[in-house]
C-alpha cells in the first residue's frame, strides 16, 4: 500500500499518496499541479526547484517527499498569500513585484529559485546589503546570465519590504 503524506501546501491542508523516496519536486509537479518549482539538476546544485519548508529555502529535488510530512510548504504560487504584498491593485508579493519592476528575467526557467531564495533571505535578514544578498544567492544558477537584473530586483525587493513592514 502506498503511504500518504499530509502537509500544508500554500496554506491548504494537503494529502497525497507517495512512492517512498520520491523527491518532493516530483510530487509537487506531477501529482499536485504545482509548476513553480522546476527541475534543473536533481542534485541540489542549481536551486530551480526551491520551495520554502517551514519558512526555510529547501531544494525540493533533494528532499524526499516523506520529509515534507507535517510541514508547511510554500511554493512560488503561494507567495502572494504569504506576503508581504504590495498595495497595488494586483497585490503581489513584494519580491515578485520587484522582479517585474526590474524586468529580471531572460528565459525565466531559473526564476523560481532566485525568488524563493530571496524571500527566505529577506524574511531572515530584511536589512541585507549588497554583499549579504550576493552571498545568499551565490549557489543559485542562471544560465542566461540574467544576474544583473536579478541582483537589482532583490535589492529593490529589500527596499520595498522595509517600506511595507514599517
Amino acid at each position: 500500500m502506498t503511504p500518504t503524506i499530509t502537509f500544508e501546501l500554500n496554506g491548504k491542508p494537503t494529502s497525497v499518496p507517495i512512492e517512498s523516496d520520491t523527491p518532493l519536486l516530483y510530487v509537487l509537479r506531477n501529482q499536485l499541479g504545482i509548476k513553480g518549482p522546476r527541475f534543473g539538476c536533481g542534485l541540489g546544485q542549481c536551486g530551480a526547484c526551491t520551495v520554502l519548508i517551514n519558512g526555510v529555502a529547501a531544494r525540493s529535488c533533494s528532499v524526499p517527499a516523506e520529509g515534507a510530512a507535517a510541514t508547511q510548504v510554500t511554493t512560488l504560487e503561494g507567495l502572494a498569500s504569504r506576503g508581504p504584498r504590495t498595495q497595488a491593485l494586483e497585490a503581489r508579493h513584494v519580491v515578485q513585484q520587484a522582479f517585474i519592476d526590474e524586468q529580471a528575467a531572460q528565459c525565466g526557467y531559473c526564476l523560481n529559485g532566485w525568488i524563493m531564495t530571496a524571500v527566505a533571505l529577506l524574511e531572515a535578514d530584511p536589512e541585507a546589503d549588497d554583499a549579504r544578498i550576493r552571498g545568499a544567492l551565490s549557489d543559485l544558477k542562471c544560465r542566461c546570465g540574467a544576474h544583473v537584473s536579478i541582483l537589482r530586483a532583490v535589492k529593490r525587493a529589500a527596499v520595498l519590504w522595509r517600506k511595507v513592514r514599517k
Binding site: N30, F39, C46, A104, Y109, L137, S138, K141, A146, V148
Partner: protein, 754 residues
Amino acid sequence: MSPSSPAGGFWTRRDFLGVAGGLVVLFSAPPSLRAQAPVTPDWKESIPADRVDSWLALLDDGRVVAAVGKIEAGMGVSTAFVQIVADELRVDMECVVLVMGDTASTVDQRGTGSSNGIVEGGSALRKAAAAAHHHLLGLAAEQLGVGVEALAVNAGVVTTTLRPGVGVTYAQLVKGRKLELALPKGVETKSPEHYRYVGKPVPRIDIPPKVHGSYEYLVDFVLPAMVHARVVRPPQAGATLLGVPPDFSSPGLIEVVTQGNFVAVVCEQEFQAVRAARSLVPRWSTPAPRFPGSYGELYTHLAAGNPGVSESADTVGSVDEGLQASARVLQARYEFPFQSHACMGPGCGVAEVKEDSATVWMGGQKPYSLRRAVAKLLGLKPGRVRVVWMAGPGSYGMNDADDAAMDAAFLSARVRRPVRVQYSREEGTAWDPKGPPLVVTMRGGLSTTGAVTAFDYEARGFSGRLRASSTEEPGDSLLGQMLGGWKAKSTDRFQFSTETYRFPAKRLTSHLLPWDHALPTGLRTAHLRDPDGMATCFASECFVDELAAAAGMDPVQFRIQYLSDQRDRDIVHAAASRAGWESRPSPNPAPGSAATRRGRGIAYAPRNGTTVAIVTEVAVDTTTGRVRVERFVVAHDCGFVINPASLQGTIEANLIQGLSRALHEAVAFTSTAVTSTDWLSYPILDMTEVPQAIDIEIVNNRPDRPSTGAGEPATRPIAASIGNAIYDALGVRVRRIPFTPESILNQLKPTPSA
C-alpha cells in the same frame, strides 16, 4: 491567454490550429468546426508567407491573433512582436495574442537563430499588420460613407471627424467576412514619429507570468495518458550496446526500448523512470579512445593535424613579403575550448505518435526543420507531422532540445502512448552538442616606426557545424546517431574573424579538421551562442592589442587608426569615451598594489550588421590568480531599437554569460568520456562575481536605421576585452580560455632562465 496579463498575451490553447483565412481555427471547439476536423489530421505543409491572413486574425471580441514563425528565447522578442502589431494596427497591446513556432499555424521562417527574431519576424508582422490596417480602413470608409483620409483609428475603433460620435470597431468591420488578403508588395507602414509602442521601453509581456509561475513551459506540458522516459547513455564515447538484462524489472516499467546503441526506459510515472534508468545496467563494448587525452593534446592535434578543407578570406597584398620586410615580427597562438550549452533545464520533449500522424512539442529554436526530421524518422509525410514550439530554458543555439524531441517521437512510436522525455543534468552538460574548440595562430609585422606591415590570421578548428544548425535529418540528432543508419547533414563552416582593419597586407585562413568520429558523442560540435564569434574575436582582437603594445601605442588609438569602417571607428570611440578611457599604451604603468593589479582592455566586433565594443576593467589577485571584472562599458549599435528595456536586459545577459564562458568554462574530458557532468564539474559564473558596474551606450538608435539584431553580438568581443584588460593589469598575455586562477598563476610564474 491570461486575461490579467498587463499587455498582450500568449495563445496557450493547444487545440488552436491557426489563423487560416483570417478565421481562428480550433481543433476541438466550437462544435461546428470540430465536426469538420478530419480523424487523421493533414496539417498544411506550409503556410503561405504572402497572405496577410497567414500572420493575423481578428477575433469577434476585438482581440488580434498574431502568428509568427519565430520563438521567444527569453530575450523579449515576443513583446517586440506585440509592440509592432499593436502599433501598425492601432490597437492596444493588451488586445494582441501571440502564437509562435507552430508548424501547423505559423509561417515557416526557418526558425530562430543568428539573432534574427526582430529582423525577420518583426518585419513580416509589420507588413502584414500595415496591410490589414489599410484594408480595414477601406472597409470603414465604405461603411461610414467617407473617404479614407477622413478616418482615424484609436484602440481598434475607426472614427471620422466628419461624423463625430460615430465609430466602428475592427471586429464590426470584419464580422461575417474573412480577412482574406494577399500581402501587397510595397505596403506603407506607420511613420516612426507616430509610434505608440515601438521604440519605447515597454515592459515584457512574458515576465509577469514567469514571475508568478503561470507561464507555460514545455516541461509543464501534460497530455492525457502520457508516460515518462529516461535515456541511458553509454559510459564511454562510441561504445556499442551489447545487451540489456532480459529480466530487468522496475516499478512502473512499461518497456526498456533498445535499438542500435540507443537505450531508454519508459515508465508510468516520472520518478519511476528516473529510478529505472539508474538501476538498468546495459552491457557496453569497450571502444578505442575517440578523444585526445587532454586540452594540451587537443590543441596540438588542431595545430598540427591535416585539415580536410581550408579557405582564405580578406586577402590583401602579400602577407609573406610583408612579414619578411618587417622590422619586427610577432607570433602568438590562441586557444579556445569546447563549451557546453549547459541549459538551465536539460532537454525535454513530448510526443504523441499515432498510426499515421505525429505531434511533437519541443523547446528548440527550429520547429520547421525538426518536422522534416521527425517525418523521416517515422516514415510519415510532413503534412502528417506537427511540431509545436513551447518555451524551454534559454537555448543559446543548437542545444539538446531537438535531441530530446526526437527521442520522444521515437519512443512514442514504439510504445504507442504519448511520451515525455526529460534529460538528466548529466545529459544536459555531458551530452549536448558542444561549442567547438579553436586554435588560431596569429602573426603580424611592424615597421621601424611601429606601423603594421602585415597581419596573418590562421584558424584551425573542427567544423563548427558538424551538426547542421538545425535538425534536418534524423542523423543530425543524437538519436539518429545512436540508432545508426542515418546520415548527419553536416556542413562546413569556416571560422573567420570579422574585424575591418585595413593593413597593407592581410590574410585570414580557416582550416577545418575532420571530427566525424565524435558524432555520436558528447563532444560533437554545433552552434553555441554567436557560433565561433567569441573564439575568433579572442584571437584577432587580443593580437591587435599585442601589436598596439609592441608599437607602444594606445589600444584605442591604434584601432581607430586602422579600422576601415566608419561605424566601427565610431563604436570603439563611443565605448572608450563612455568608459573615460585614459590614452596610454598597455601595460598599465600604475596597476596598484602587488597583491591586486588593475587594468583595462578594449575589444570590438561587428556581427551581421550590428557592431559592439566593450571596455573591461579588471582586478587580478596575484596570489590566488582570480580575475574579477569590476566594470563593463558597452557601446552597442544594432540600429533602431524596438524595445530599449529588453535590449538592456539582453546585452547584460550576453555580458554575464560571456564573462562566465571566458572565466570558467571548458568542457572537461578524458580520452574516452566527457567528464563535465553537472554544475560542479562545469562551473559557471555566480552572483558574487557579477561586476559592480555595467554601463551601456546605445548608438545609432534611429528609426531610419534598420534593426539588425542583438541576441548575440555582445557576446563576441567579451573574451578578447577581458584578455586585453588582464594584459594591461599584469603585463603578461594569457592566450587560453578560460582565464582560470591556475592559468593566470602559471603566466605569473617567473620564466625559468635558459
